[in-house]
Symmetry: C2
Subunit: 333 residues, 2 copies
C-alpha cells in the first residue's frame, strides 16, 4: 500500500515556498493494532495559522517538527477499525498528518455526517472556521444589535462567517478585502452592508468613517498591519477588538511596526484580545448547534476554494498568502 506524506523540511524564512516541504512515498502495509483505526484522507484544510506552527518561535501551540509530516485539519474515511468507537465507512474530522493514509488511536477525532452537510464543511463552517467565527465574535465581541462591526480578511474563511453571524445578530457589518470581486461577494453573497477594497482605497481610515458614521464597536481582526491601524482611528468607547490573526505580518522576518495602539485603547476604554479558538472548547456544543441551525435554515452560506490533489497541498497553503482563496481553502485528495 503506497502512502504519500508531506514533511516540513525547512522552517520558512518569510513567505513559505514549495521547497520548504518534502514529498515522500512509502510502500508498506498499514494494519490497525487493537484500539486503532486506519484512515484514508479525503479533504485537507490549509489555514494561515499553520505559518506560525512552522516557525519555532514561542507560541500558543508547539511548533511543527522538522522532517515530520505537517498536521492540519483533515476529514478522513475509516478504512479499517479495531476501535469500538469507529466502524469501517465512518467519516471523521480532526488534526491529522498530511498523509494519504494513516493510523490513529481515534483520540481527538469527531465523527462527521456527510448526509447533514458536505464533508468539506466540517473543515470550514462546521469546523474550526465556524467555531472561530462564532466564539470570537460572541465571547469577545459581545455584540449588541445595532452596533457596528468591521471585519478584516472579510472574504476569507473566518471573515465571511463572522460577517454573516454579525448580520444574523443585528449588527451593521463592514468588510475589508483585497479585490473588487471579493468586495462584491461580501455584499451579494454574504449580506454585508458595505465593503472596502483596501488595495484601491486611498484613505481607508476616511472610508471607514464614511461607512461607519456611528463609529466601530467591534473589530474582528484577521490581518493586522496598516488596515488595523486605520480601523483604530474609528473605534468607539468600549470597543472590542478580536485579534484572530495577523496574516499581513506572518511572513515578516523583522518585528513589524505600526501605530501605537495604547493611546487609542486608553482613550476609548477599549479592549484588544488575542484569540485562539481552542481556549473556548466549552462553547463548542452551543456554537455547533447554532451554526448547524443557521446553515440548515439558509441563513449562513460559505465559499470554498477547492484545490485537487494531495501533491498540491503546499501550493494551496502558499496561495493563502497571495489572496488566492475565496473563503475556506480546501484540498480534495
Amino acid at each position: 500500500m503506497k502512502t504519500k506524506s508531506i514533511l516540513l523540511k525547512n522552517r520558512p524564512q518569510g513567505k513559505p515556498s514549495v521547497s520548504d516541504f518534502e514529498f515522500i512515498t512509502e510502500d508498506k502495509n498499514l494494519e490497525p493494532s487493537s484500539g486503532e483505526i486506519l484512515l484514508e484522507t479525503q479533504f485537507v484544510s490549509v489555514d494561515p495559522y499553520l505559518r506560525g506552527r512552522m516557525s519555532d518561535a514561542k507560541s500558543y501551540v508547539a511548533p511543527l517538527e522538522l522532517n515530520k509530516p505537517v498536521q492540519s485539519g483533515v476529514v478522513a474515511k475509516v478504512i479499517a477499525s479495531k476501535n469500538e468507537n469507529f466502524k469501517e465507512g465512518d467519516y471523521v474530522s480532526g488534526l491529522l498528518n498530511w498523509k494519504t493514509s494513516q493510523l490513529s488511536s481515534g483520540e481527538g477525532l469527531l465523527k462527521v455526517d456527510g448526509a447533514k452537510a458536505p464533508l468539506s464543511a466540517y473543515l470550514g463552517i462546521l469546523g474550526m472556521t465556524g467555531l472561530t467565527a462564532y466564539c470570537g465574535l460572541t465571547e469577545i465581541g459581545k455584540p449588541v444589535a445595532g452596533e457596528t462591526l468591521v471585519v478584516s480578511g472579510a472574504a476569507g474563511a473566518v471573515g465571511s462567517v463572522v460577517g454573516q453571524i454579525g448580520k444574523i445578530l443585528g449588527l451593521h457589518v463592514i468588510g475589508i478585502a483585497g479585490t473588487d470581486e471579493k468586495v462584491d461577494m461580501l455584499k451579494s453573497k454574504f449580506g454585508f452592508d458595505a465593503g472596502i477594497n483596501y488595495k484601491t482605497t486611498e484613505d481607508i481610515n476616511a472610508e471607514i468613517s464614511k461607512l461607519a458614521p456611528y463609529g466601530v464597536d467591534i473589530y474582528f481582526d484577521n490581518v493586522g498591519g496598516p488596515i488595523s491601524d486605520a480601523v483604530l482611528f474609528n473605534i468607539n468607547r468600549f470597543a472590542r477588538i478580536i485579534i484572530c490573526g495577523a496574516i499581513s505580518v506572518y511572513n515578516n522576518t523583522e518585528i513589524p511596526k505600526s501605530i501605537s495602539v495604547q493611546p487609542f485603547l486608553v482613550k476609548n476604554s477599549a479592549l484588544m484580545q488575542g484569540f485562539i479558538v481552542s481556549n473556548y472548547a466549552e462553547k463548542f456544543p452551543e456554537a455547533m448547534k447554532e451554526l448547524s441551525t443557521w446553515l440548515s435554515e439558509g441563513k449562513l452560506t460559505y465559499t470554498e476554494t477547492v484545490v485537487n490533489g494531495f501533491d498540491n497541498i503546499p501550493d494551496a497553503f502558499i496561495g493563502l498568502f497571495e489572496g488566492k482563496n475565496k473563503g475556506k481553502m480546501i484540498v480534495e485528495i
Copy 2:
C-alpha cells in the same frame, strides 16, 4: 474678596508650557445661593491625564474649554454653606476649578476626614490614584498569587500603589522607573521585588527576562512606547495588560509608532484593555475599604511631591512630564 484663577489659554502643542495658561485675579464677593457652598481650595492634584483633556481630540472625557479655569482633583474647605449636606468647616474632595475660592452645588463632592488620613491623601492613595491602582489591577489584571506583575511608571503615584497592592496579593512585582533613586525607592520603600532603570538599562527586554524567569502575567502600563514594547516580548499565555496611561506619548504631535502588538496578543491569547477608573464606580466602596484598611495597617505607604503656592500649579503639572515627581504630585495652596 480676591480670587485667583488659572485658565487654559492655548491647547498645548507637544509639551505644555506655562504660557499655555493664563492667570487672572478677580475681586468680587462670593456668596452662596440656596443649595450652594463656598469653597476655599487647600490642595490641588495635577495628573498626566489632564494633558489629554487639554487637547480637543476625541477622548473619554470632554476637552477642557479654552479661556475657562482648568479642572482637576481638589481638596477644599467649606467656608460658608447654604446646602444642608455640608457645613462650615467640612472638607470635601472632587473635581473643581483651579481657583483659590469657588461656589459649588456640592454635586459630585465627597466629604473627607482629615483625622483619618492627611487631607492630601484624598487626592492620592485614598482618591483617584488609589482607586485607579486598585480597580485596574484587580478588575482587569485578575491577579493570582504567585504570578508576575510588571509596572511601568512604577515610582509614579499610581504605579507605586499598584506594586504595593501586587505584593499584598502575593505577586512577584517588578517596577520600571527612570532614575536609580526611584528604583531604589521601589525596593526599599514600596517592597517591590525588583526594579529596572529604563534610562540606564541597555536591553530592557533581556533585563525583564532575567527578573521575570517565569514570564510576565500582568503588565500595568502607565507609559506606552518602547518600554511597553520590551515587556511584550516577555508576556505569558493569557497575560493581562492594563493600559492605564501612555505618558511617553502624550506630548507627541505625530501619531507614535511602535512594534505591532497584535501578533504578541494572538500568540499568547493575551488581553490588552484600555482603562479609565471612572468606568468602575461600582467598585469604589470596596476599593476604599481595602485601601483604608491597608493604609491603617501600615501595609500601604505613599510618596507625595508637594509644590507650594497656587501660582505654581502649571509648573507642577509640566514637571510630571519631566519626571520631577516621586509619587503623587500635589500643590498645596
